[in-house]
């Protein structure tokens, strides 16, 4: 077995959590890495308080890292506050992924988180932090 593809990554890749679309989501965005063709669309439903993330769903295709990372992300953020998640440091997700990533594969890993941040900031009317704006541009997130 390859060390790179840890069991947990393969499990999320083969059995993605929160896979699917959502009718009338409270927040949504999509991204496409033009260099490798990874695609991710994320939909979020907020609880009645307008703040707690009630449900997250994603659809996409691409490499194991991009899809597994997005699947892991949906589990990480469910039940948390949208404001917290909009400012979630990328290290929290990268720790969960737990493998050394080259700069190219780092973008695969961060595609889902970038899409989620764009969706949440747009829904809340807050500006995307500059460090994510560059990535959002590169990964054609809108």
């Amino acid at each position: 077995m390859s060390d790179f593809y840890r069991e947990v990554i393969l499990d999320h890749y083969k059995n993605p959590r929160g896979h699917g679309a959502m009718d009338s989501p409270d927040a949504t965005a999509e991204g496409l890495n033009p260099l490798c063709g990874d695609e991710v669309t994320i939909s979020v439903a907020l609880a009645d308080d307008g703040e707690t993330i009630d449900e997250v769903k994603f659809e996409g295709r691409g490499c194991a890292i991009s899809q597994a990372a997005t699947s892991m992300l949906t589990e990480m953020v469910k039940g948390r506050s949208a404001t917290d998640v909009a400012t979630l440091p990328k290290e929290e997700l990268l720790e969960e992924i737990g493998i050394p990533l080259t700069p190219i594969r780092l973008k695969c890993a961060l595609l889902g988180l970038g899409v989620l941040k764009v969706a949440l900031h747009r829904a809340k009317g807050t500006p995307l932090p500059p460090e994510w704006a560059g990535l959002a541009n590169e990964l054609e997130i809108s």
Partner: protein, 414 residues
């Protein structure tokens, strides 16, 4: 299949010339199957670079002192070798550039920008590397000319039945094509396209980056007007390449880079240009790299271009046969007799990055991506492919390791 008069090359023996193969990757011997992106360097070239810097280096065409003369003789000697290598009519037709990309940009700027106008047609193909596509797309936009594409058939070969229709779209001024496709390995019919280009009154611009390392090139037989290639893809150093151009075209062209060495006379009012090829070699050139390029020409010539071509055909045929048995594989490109040592493929729904990552753990290096051929990827309907490519040091054992690595990737992800 090429008729081979040269002896069959012994790749196992040649590998001993390449120090890179002495190491292990992730504890395994290196199987380097990415020579289409760049080749490794034999001791003969590395030692030449070292020796040149230690004994003969100085700037060229400048000093009257002994070292400068020695350096100039080596640099011009390399130009002579390159001229013979592509059968140029004169060494003056060889311009040193940073690589094939710069050579093609030189033609696009110094010929295209000056000669193209609205109503003109620039013809490229769906097989082009971005280096022979983007400059022409850009020049067409800048000048108001129209960009037309020669399409591919399902084998990944050019569909020449469209030529008459394209000729009816306007005045064809430029036809640009690679002799060998870096993405699919397709060997293109440059002689036919050159003849057609000249019937239209157009120039024929050939990207030879993938061809020059792999087969004997005769620019006069190809009938083209420009042929650009890079040293690093044929055992030579990075940052140097050559543009061959027909002397009469080079002479009437505007310069590309402006500065030192390319001038005849400079006054406050105006500057006149030096002779070809100096007119296109402004500034201090990659001198040692050019000398190393000459050593690379010596190396591949001694191995024998016909032997290299035959070796690659054999490897491509072997790889296509072995890969065909891998479940779920999709192979792209023409049959082995019409391709160089390049095999592009996809493995079911697995992303090429994942496939290449698993192979890397096995010490097998392949390319995963769009190969600087996004128009081709659009045609194939994929974002990327895996690509294995071979050279004179590639042995069948490396292809076997590729195949078993693919089985492993399938097991991991299924």
């Amino acid at each position: 299949m090429a008729v081979t008069t040269q002896a069959k090359l012994d790749a196992r023996k040649l590998r001993a010339d390449f120090p890179i193969f002495e190491q292990r990757i992730h504890g395994k011997p290196l199987a380097y199957l990415d020579s289409a992106v760049s080749t490794h360097k034999p001791r003969q070239v590395l030692e030449k670079l070292q020796d040149f810097y230690e004994t003969s280096y100085a700037n060229v065409h400048r000093g009257v002192y002994t070292l400068s003369e020695r350096s100039t003789a080596e640099y011009e000697g390399a130009r002579q070798k390159l001229a013979q290598f592509v059968n140029a009519a004169s060494p003056r037709e060889i311009v040193f550039v940073r690589g094939a990309t710069e050579g093609l940009n030189l033609v696009a700027y110094a010929w295209g920008l000056v000669n193209l106008e609205p109503g003109d047609v620039v013809v490229v193909t769906e097989l082009e590397h971005h280096s022979n596509f983007v400059p022409w797309q850009y020049m067409a936009k800048r000048t108001g000319a129209t960009l037309k594409m020669i399409r591919l058939d399902d084998n990944g070969e050019l569909d020449l039945s469209e030529l008459d229709r394209i000729a009816g779209e306007g005045k064809v001024k430029v036809v640009a094509n690679n002799l060998v496709s870096n993405a699919l390995g397709t060997i293109n019919p440059i002689e036919k396209l050159s003849a057609w280009a000249h019937e239209q009154g157009a120039i024929m611009v050939v990207d030879g980056a993938q061809a020059a390392p792999h087969k004997a090139v005769d620019v006069q037989a190809l009938g083209c007007d420009f042929f650009a290639f890079s040293a690093h893809k044929m055992c030579g150093p990075t940052s140097v390449g050559a543009l061959w151009g027909r002397l009469e075209l080079l002479e009437e062209m505007e310069p590309f880079n402006l500065g030192g060495h390319m001038i005849r006379k400079v006054t406050l009012e105006e500057t006149t240009w030096g002779d070809v090829p100096a007119k296109f070699e402004a500034g201090t050139q990659p001198i040692a790299e050019a000398v190393g390029f000459g050593a690379a020409v010596d190396y591949v010539t001694e191995v024998g271009l016909e032997s290299i071509e035959q070796h690659e055909h054999d490897l491509a045929a072997y790889a296509l046969e072995q890969l065909a048995d891998v479940p779920g594989i999709k192979l792209y490109g023409p049959p082995p007799e019409r391709r160089a040592g390049i095999v592009s493929f996809n493995l079911g729904d697995l992303h090429p990055h994942d496939v290449a990552q698993v192979l890397d753990m096995e010490g097998v290096a392949i390319r995963a991506g769009h190969h600087c051929c996004q128009p081709l990827m659009q045609k194939l309907g994929v974002a990327a492919t895996n690509r294995a490519s071979f050279y004179l040091y590639t042995v069948p054992d490396e292809i076997d390791r590729l195949v078993s690595g693919l089985h492993k990737a399938q097991k991991i992800f299924s």
